[in-house]
Structure formats: structure tokens, C-alpha cells
């Protein structure tokens, strides 16, 4: 670079080298990885101003940026169609399977760019998504379904067997169901299989897409309890997309609020919980307490204006 800057053609040296230098630093992940493990302050996942387009025309995310720190639980909140699932899928790169594409911005995991990576390589590098609506392999037995999570692993039968036992420890209810086809178990058990299967990957980062969807309140409690336990005991960082804002804010340290493909608000969980708009629009609380339905009309209008 210095040689180029000293080139005899008389051009100002700063401008031409600037571009190659930048791309070089992006294309050399190994150096950045070192710096992450070095000071520990770099986030595990950094989503930088991404734009996502479906079918070449439909713009779904309009510049989303977020970070997940090493070992943290981060919540991604928002209503139906806000872009939560799309954000998660652009990280795990399942987007391509739905004809979506990250057209702008970057996604870095542990210092490596992953937005163009094949989904199976993304999984190998330690990012796993638990998709919305459970998505079990319904003609596989519970145990076989869990074992598909170990598909990319090369660390031998014994390690996989151990992790399987570990999953059964987290979800004792699955033990009795291990040879039942997952199509025939209950919704809560399917969610457990989906999470357990992701755990079998031995991920560094788990992307959870609405784990509470369609579950009884008590089961939701149980699942969220397990999420915090996994985070603590398996050292899995978690990005949690949820509509159940109250529950999500209980387990997360930090939260982003997504509306219409944009982050409209972010802050640590307590700040978000204390935010007047969040209390009103997502938690159904006003300054006085429970929301009165007389004001619903006003609420709708104000939300639209906000978005």
C-alpha cells in the first residue's frame, strides 16, 4: 500500500489505496476473528444496514442494523409482518430458499461475512435458526429428528450421543416420546424437538423465531425458562424474535423494535419496557394500568402515524 502511495504518477496517494484497503480488511476474516477473541468487546453478530428484497421486487427490510453480544440474549420485537422472520432468515441465509436476497448491507458473525454463505456453511460456523411454527420432520421419530441437528458435525458418535442425552435432560418429556413420529406429538413437544434439534448443532448463536407461538401460557413459561438456561449453561447467544413482548423482555438484556422493515427503537430491556409507546402499543398498558378499549381507535391511529 505504501509502495502504491509512493507511485511516481503524481496522483494524490490517499484516494486510490483507500478502496482496496477497505475491501481487503473485509475479505480477511481471520484478522478480525483474532481481534474479537482479543478484546471481547466486538459483538458476536453484527447486522449492518441490510436491505432484503423478495422476488427481485418486494422490499421487506429497509436498512436494519443490530448486534448480538457474546453470550447475550437479544429480543427482536414487532408485530406481524414487521420483518422479524425475514431478519432472522437473512442471518441464517434461509432467505434464498424463499427467493429473497440481501441486496445491501453486511452481516458479520464472529468477524466473518456470512450474508452470501451457503446455509449449511452458516450452520457449520455456529449459527442455527429455530424456525417459526416448529417445522418438525413429521415422518421422522423424535430421536431421528433430534439427530438431524448433528448432521453437519464431525466430532464422532460419542459426542453426539452425549449431546442427545443433554437435550433429553433439558426436555425430559421427550424421553418417553423418542420413538414416536414427530407428526403425532403435541405442539409444545414439537417446539421442544425444534429447539433440541438446534441445540444438537452445538451452536454459538441461536436464532429463535417466535418460540411461544400457539403454546399454552404455562408451556411458554417453560420454554423461556429453557432458553435462559441454554444461554447460561451452553453459552449460546440468542436472538429472539417475539410478539410476546412481556415474556421476551423478561429474558432479554437488550431489545430492538421492528416496524415495517425498520428498527424504530432499541435499548436495554428495562428502558424498552419503561418506554411509554411500548407500554401502550405492545404491552397494552397505560400510565394508569390496563388499557381501556374505549381508546382503541385512538391507539390505532397513533400507531399508524408512528410507523
Amino acid at each position: 500500500m505504501t509502495q502504491r502511495g509512493a507511485a511516481p504518477d503524481g496522483r494524490p496517494p490517499e484516494i486510490p489505496p483507500a478502496a482496496p484497503m477497505r475491501t481487503a480488511s473485509l475479505e480477511q476474516p481471520s484478522r478480525r476473528v483474532h481481534s474479537v477473541s482479543g478484546d471481547g468487546s466486538d459483538p458476536l453478530l453484527r447486522v449492518n444496514n441490510i436491505e432484503v428484497v423478495y422476488d427481485h421486487v418486494i422490499l421487506v427490510l429497509k436498512g436494519v442494523s443490530l448486534e448480538v453480544p457474546q453470550g447475550g440474549i437479544v429480543a427482536l420485537l414487532g408485530a406481524n409482518g414487521a420483518g422479524k422472520s425475514t431478519t432472522l432468515k437473512s442471518i441464517s441465509n434461509l432467505l434464498r430458499a424463499e427467493r429473497g436476497d440481501v441486496t445491501k448491507g453486511t452481516i458479520e458473525f464472529a468477524g466473518t461475512r456470512i450474508e452470501k454463505m451457503d446455509p449449511s456453511r452458516v450452520v457449520k460456523s455456529g449459527v442455527v435458526q429455530v424456525m417459526e411454527g416448529r417445522r418438525c420432520f413429521e415422518h421422522l421419530t423424535v430421536e431421528e429428528d433430534l439427530l438431524t441437528g448433528a448432521h453437519t458435525r464431525r466430532d464422532g458418535r460419542r459426542a453426539i450421543k452425549q449431546d442427545l442425552e443433554r437435550v433429553y435432560e433439558y426436555f425430559p418429556r421427550l424421553v418417553a416420546r423418542r420413538s414416536v413420529k414427530t407428526g403425532y406429538i403435541s405442539g409444545g413437544e414439537q417446539q421442544m424437538v425444534a429447539i433440541g434439534r438446534a441445540l444438537m448443532v452445538r451452536p454459538k448463536l441461536m436464532l429463535l423465531d417466535e418460540p411461544s407461538m400457539g403454546l399454552a401460557p404455562q408451556l411458554v413459561q417453560e420454554i423461556f425458562g429453557i432458553i435462559t438456561r441454554m444461554n447460561r449453561e451452553e453459552n449460546v447467544s440468542i436472538l429472539l424474535a417475539e410478539q410476546n413482548v412481556a415474556q421476551a423482555l423478561k429474558v432479554a438484556q437488550y431489545a430492538y423494535v421492528l416496524e415495517n422493515g425498520r428498527i424504530v427503537l432499541d435499548g436495554d430491556a428495562q428502558t424498552i419496557q419503561g418506554n411509554a409507546d411500548i407500554r401502550e402499543f405492545y404491552l397494552g398498558l397505560t400510565e394508569i394500568g390496563k388499557k381501556s378499549y374505549r381508546e382503541v381507535k385512538y391507539y390505532r391511529r397513533r400507531k399508524r402515524w408512528l410507523a
Binding site: 434461509l94 446455509p119 429455530v130 424456525m131 418438525c136 421422522l140 413420529k181 444438537m200
Partner: protein, 297 residues
């Protein structure tokens, strides 16, 4: 007694013929299982494989080496199909993939005949299509051999699907593509493997049927019988392909012989299988052994 032996002879020869239907049907099942696509090109793949194998053999390469070479050729073909045809069509509706296989079918027929010519080749793998001597009923040696091959193939495939890591991944993909992607199963690899397996099955079917009919263009039409087998047995079941093949092979022979004997109806064999398949459709739309559609209430 005489009567009974005759019946057994008819039935057994039908069942053995059924095994040969099964082998053809298996090729379809493999691809439907992994990608939900009905592979119209399966018949052309049979022709392609058999024609290739015969040509290698006629060029003076020893039999087993020729088979091995043809096998290798089918694997290369499978990888090429995945690369050129399937990958760009990822996440398209199954109907579009089906259309692509129609195109592929004509391409393969043309390519096979372009490379190896259009004249029929005789194929004699050294097992006579004659009955054993001294048996109470006449059973063709070749048909017995074919049935043996079919059984070996099926046992091998079932073990592969249920006892191996890749096999499990294949079944996962057949249930839910995206979820399979989400745990890191590579669709490209899976599709490559299934098409290679289907190519291998096509080779076996091509050799067996080629021995009987000669290796020629009409080999592509054996898939028509497989269709009835698939409807009867279920489109995504290996067991279904075998049992379906046996039922159709056995029943059509028996129907042909006895209905024409007692009622003077002829030529039943050519359509009886389809009739049976249709009846099964009324009762079990996913076939006798197809994956049941699991609905939770």
C-alpha cells in the same frame, strides 16, 4: 392338482414380473421422496444407462467393468442435472420442476441416441430366460435372478434410508426442505445423492428390461407400468414400490389367463394394473404404503 400347479405357475411368473416393475418404480420413489418431484425423465435415464452400458460392453470392455463405467456415468449425469437443471429452479413450485424433467427426458433420449445410435442392441447377461428343469412348475431363471436383484436393491436402499446419516437427512428433506436447510443439510448434496441413486436404479432397471426387450428406444416406455405401481403402492414409499409391483404383476397375469379362459376376454394384462390402481385411489389416495398425510386436530 394339475389345475393348482398351473395357477401357481401363472401367479409366480406374474409376481416375478412384478419385481421388475418394482425396480422401475423405485427410481421414481427416490426422487419423489427427496424433492417431491415426479421425474418424467426416469424412463430416459433407463435408456441412457442401458445404452451406455451395452455400448461399453460391445466395445470390448468386460461386463462388470462396463456396468461400473455406466454407473459412474450416471453419477456424473446426476451431478450435472443438479447443477444445470435443479439448482436454478430452487424454491420453484413442483409443477415447474416437473416440466423441467419433461425437457430433460427428451434431451436424454436425444443425447443417448446421438452418442450410441438408434439401432436396437441385444443384451445377454448370461442368464437364460428359460425354466429350470425338474421343477414342479416352470419358473424362468432370468426372472428369478431379476427378483433377486430387486430384493437386494430394496434391502440396500431401506438400510441406507433408515440406518445412515445421509439417509436420515434425505428423509428429513422429503418432509420439509427449509427446515432441513435450517439444520445445515445441504440440498445440493442431497439432490446429487438422490439423482445418483435414481440413476443407479435406472441402470439396473435398464439392464433387466434391456435383457428382456432388447436395448432400444421403447425402453423408455416401461415407466408407464411403473406409474400404476406407484399409484397403488404410494409415490413415496420404497415398500410400496415393491408390494405395488408384486400386486400388479401377480394380479394382471392371473386376470389375463383366467378371465380370458372363462369369459373370453383378451388383452386384460395391458390395462388391469391401471384399473386396480384406480380402485386403490378411491380408498387410499396416498397409495397403500405412501406417507400418510398427518393432520393434527
Amino acid at each position: 392338482m394339475e389345475e393348482f400347479l398351473f395357477f401357481m405357475e401363472v401367479l409366480v411368473s406374474g409376481l416375478l414380473q412384478g419385481f421388475m416393475y418394482s425396480v422401475v418404480a423405485l427410481g421414481f420413489v427416490l426422487i419423489i421422496k427427496s424433492s417431491g418431484v415426479f421425474n418424467f425423465a426416469q424412463g430416459s435415464m433407463c435408456l441412457f444407462a442401458a445404452l451406455g452400458m451395452v455400448s461399453f460392453w460391445e466395445a470390448g470392455i468386460p461386463f462388470w467393468l462396463a456396468v461400473l463405467l455406466a454407473l459412474l456415468m450416471m453419477v456424473v449425469l446426476a451431478v450435472a442435472i443438479e447443477r444445470v437443471v435443479l439448482r436454478p429452479l430452487v424454491a420453484r413450485p413442483p409443477l415447474i420442476l416437473f416440466m423441467a424433467t419433461i425437457g430433460l427426458s427428451f434431451f436424454l433420449e436425444g443425447l443417448a441416441q446421438g452418442i450410441w445410435g438408434t439401432q436396437p442392441h441385444g443384451l445377454d447377461i448370461g442368464i437364460p430366460d428359460r425354466p429350470f428343469k425338474g421343477f414342479p412348475i416352470d419358473v424362468s431363471q432370468f426372472e428369478l435372478f431379476a427378483a433377486g436383484v430387486a430384493i437386494l436393491l430394496v434391502v440396500g436402499l431401506v438400510i441406507f434410508f433408515h440406518r445412515t446419516r445421509i439417509g436420515r437427512a434425505l428423509r428429513a428433506v422429503s418432509d420439509d426442505h427449509t427446515a432441513a436447510l435450517s439444520v445445515g443439510i445441504s440440498l445440493r448434496m442431497i439432490w446429487g445423492v438422490t439423482w445418483a441413486l435414481a440413476g443407479m436404479v435406472a441402470l439396473v432397471a435398464g439392464i433387466l428390461w434391456g435383457t428382456r426387450l432388447g436395448v432400444q428406444y421403447s425402453l423408455t416406455l416401461i415407466v408407464l407400468k411403473a406409474l400404476a405401481v406407484l399409484i397403488l403402492g404410494g409415490f413415496n414409499s420404497i415398500t410400496g414400490a415393491v408390494v405395488g409391483g408384486l400386486i400388479i404383476g401377480g394380479s394382471e397375469k392371473v386376470a389375463e389367463v383366467y378371465l380370458s379362459l372363462y369369459f373370453g376376454l383378451g388383452g386384460i394384462e395391458s390395462f388391469f394394473g391401471y384399473l386396480l390402481a384406480m380402485l386403490v385411489l378411491f380408498v387410499r389416495p396416498y397409495g397403500l404404503f405412501g406417507d400418510e398425510i398427518i393432520e393434527r386436530v
